[in-house]
Amino acid sequence: MLPVLAAPAWMLAVVFVPLAAALLCFLLPRRAVILGLVAAVLTAAVTFALTLEVAAAGTAHTLLGGWAAPLGILWRADGLSAALLAMTALVGVTVSLYAAAYFRDDAHARVFFWPLWLLLWTALNALYLSADLFNLYVTLELLGFAAVSLTALGGGAAALTGAIRYLLVSVLGSLSYLLGVALLYHSCGSVDIGLVAACIPDAPRPASQVAAAAMMAGLILKTALFPFHFWLPPAHGSAPAPVSAVLSALVVKASFYLLLRLWLDVLGGGGRWAAELLGLLGVAAVLWGSVLALRQERLKLLIAYSTVAQIGYLFLALPLAVAGGAAAWTGALYLALAHGLAKAAMFLSAGNLLRFGGHDRIAELDSAVHRLPLTLTAFALAGVSIMGLPPSGGFIGKWLLLKAAFAQGRFGLVVVILLGGVLAAAYVFKVVGHAFTPAARERRLRTVPPGMEWSALLLAAAAIVLGLTLPLISPLLQVGAAPAAMATAFAAWSAA
């Protein structure tokens, strides 16, 4: 009895605990910090419980309102959802600890950070659980508004401009997605992922294809794939450090997850031409993002452009995965998880350096290593994962992609994957190198609370450890994965 009840109860808690906490934080602003911290720990705990449950007992379902599809909305937690939920929980609880210290002296930001951040967390969890295309639209909007409001919390003109551009792009992306949902609903008479997937091969031809294209286009815009990345660096670069960490590590992953979910579970995992096109954009993103990251003079913008490049890797995997199957999908997912952890660690480290020196100009980071050894260690470890050096999570992801690329004889992609790693090494060492140079002159420096240093280090260490846990995570990702037979059906459909 208990195991049967367990998964739906955890699913309920995963969405409702952060939601209830967000309302409480809004009602009781003076207690927001302690409420937020308790809620973060609780949310992480129930999320890990759900993840373990999914790993042990397989895909979990909940019928919301007790109604089955097509009338009702379903929650569905399979391995892919569980892995991203767990990553979100780990980053979320660490960023919460960090934010408690970061916003200590800023009463305004403190009061509004907690409800907004907990609502963002609610939106992420709701998005990863939902198996309903229209409900996913609502979670996307929730996620977008929370992210925009948090970006604006930076307060200055740059943060406001970044937030407004982000809002316009986010709403445009959601509308494009919604247009696709409207066409799919009228093609299939349902918005349930399972039912739509079953109907897609027989759906009216141009309608379902245009629907898929509109949804993909909206999600690509939200994921900031080159050349739609223009909005990302200004927003991620001007937000407060814990917000930047959440935006880069978690928010762009959510739209990528949804894109992957559509590709695999709704469209059946085929689509050769679309995959090649997106792969090409991914290649451009890796090169363009890395080169621009190298040219930045400010640390947070460097890290933001690095996100543009790393998103490129996720899309570069698509043609390999469509042609070669499981290993490349696992590689892309591994890169997404590793990037989430490592990029959060990098932005938190940048926040420490910014707090310490009062600026984030890379050329003036001299001697930071002596004062903030933990922060610099965190940045370097995160850098190891971003570069893709063993034994990090980033290494496993790239290694799986390289293996697939070699097996398929795609040597051009091999070169790009390796070149992206070399460029990443160059921009990571640019930062670390400046931090090691002795200080030219003493400046007025502020202390950094130890909690902020340790949070960054914890996430960076997690990005490394992720590389050693492939035997644990690979089976989790396979839980509830779409059967490969669907792929051939889709291939026949899309070729016509």
Partner: protein
Amino acid sequence: MTQAVFWALIGMALVVLGLYALIVHAHLLRKVLALNIMSSGVFLVFIGLARRTPDADAPMAADPVPQAMVLTGIVVAVAATGLALALIVRLRALTGRTTLGDDMGD
């Protein structure tokens, strides 16, 4: 052409019209208007195509699910508009600008 297809086509035209204005106009209030018109277009596609029921003239035969979804969409749109306008007003108070300007970053 049926009534359903007719209104869905008008909806698509509104989507494209809004998208054009969103890209071309610099004033942020105009971009907000453009997004609102785009979303009206999407709603029109949603509701228009719901009129494809076999006995379309019976009012109760209308599919209620797209209507409920569009109601949700209308509320989301007004929330987005409210948030966007607050940000724009604040930007104007802070910098005197009502456009995004070209200074990305910094």
